[in-house]
Subunit: 186 residues, 2 copies
Amino acid sequence: METVERLISGAQELLWERGYVGTSPKAVQLVAGAGQGSMYHHFAGKAELAKVAIGRSAEEMRAAAEEQLGGAGTARERIAAYLGREREVLKGCQIGRLAADPEVVADPELRAPVAETFEWLRGRLTEVVAEGKQNGEFPETLDPERTAATIAAVLQGGYVLARAAGSPEPFNLAVQGLNDLLNPTT
Amino acid sequence: METVERLISGAQELLWERGYVGTSPKAVQLVAGAGQGSMYHHFAGKAELAKVAIGRSAEEMRAAAEEQLGGAGTARERIAAYLGREREVLKGCQIGRLAADPEVVADPELRAPVAETFEWLRGRLTEVVAEGKQNGEFPETLDPERTAATIAAVLQGGYVLARAAGSPEPFNLAVQGLNDLLNPTT
DNA sequence: GTCTATACAGTGATAGAC
DNA sequence: GTCTATCACTGTATAGAC
């Protein structure tokens, strides 16, 4: 793997763990096995490297979600698959984590990929829910846009509760609770 | 207001905005209008001051939640009141925010008040949902513990989506979506 | 209790040699 | 492209005077 790639994936890893504020160029160089001069040759500075790394993580998150949401099965099945897929719950969401970082939120260049990723996710979930409504899987009264936001929020909030607890349990409970509400035993 | 109090509430403010990793003793002294020596006279260091400040924020969050959850009305009404109460959505949750901080999660002393606050909140919501079941407000099939986790997660995740978007809208959508699911128009 | 002085590592970057 | 040197600044304290 080339130096540039190691710098990017090193930055992705550290941004995930420590956020932008908590990640220093030196720490990135260390995990990437690259020197000071090497990093500043490839990137103008911390912000530029972070921008690239965040973009990379955003792509990964979209691809991972699309794997279930665009897969086979009914709308209900695809949502259940998305909710139930294996996750590193205690690490949290690599993109959602950045919404807590003051400097990411303050810098339009850094916030953009974060905003776009969640816009995409909510839009994609809205489509799947709407599709399920048309097929009679969901009641006519269900609002797809609201429901999509709720689904995304349960996952992001589940990570928060799990990290706070130091255990994946609250995440699993929240997801099961949402599943129950979406699939009432009429 | 005395110096100690100004230091504590200054730390609360900065921890909310920037997290533990992003908050320096010097910055706290600045917003508190206190000198270096003054801070280190009252607190052993950054971690100890943070511990006190987090405990204070935890109390505040509990009190705010209990205002609606322990108020008048049916279980459904109290949950709706809790969900709908006015919030500084773009600032996020002062306690939930800390679950993203690597050094808070890593230090048992700092994580404890965060963990306890969410344990309390989920427990309190569990009680209210259970009460609603007994009164026939919620279906017999509803699991109180799961539902409680889902409610807490929607709020925490709503903050994440809102900060990512730079707008309270996703938070409001997520909460409305949850409300719809909890109050189906049978 | 509060102040100033001092210390020493880390941050984020630039300069110039190789 | 990568390395080492250097820099001004901040982070997190400690020491001792007042």
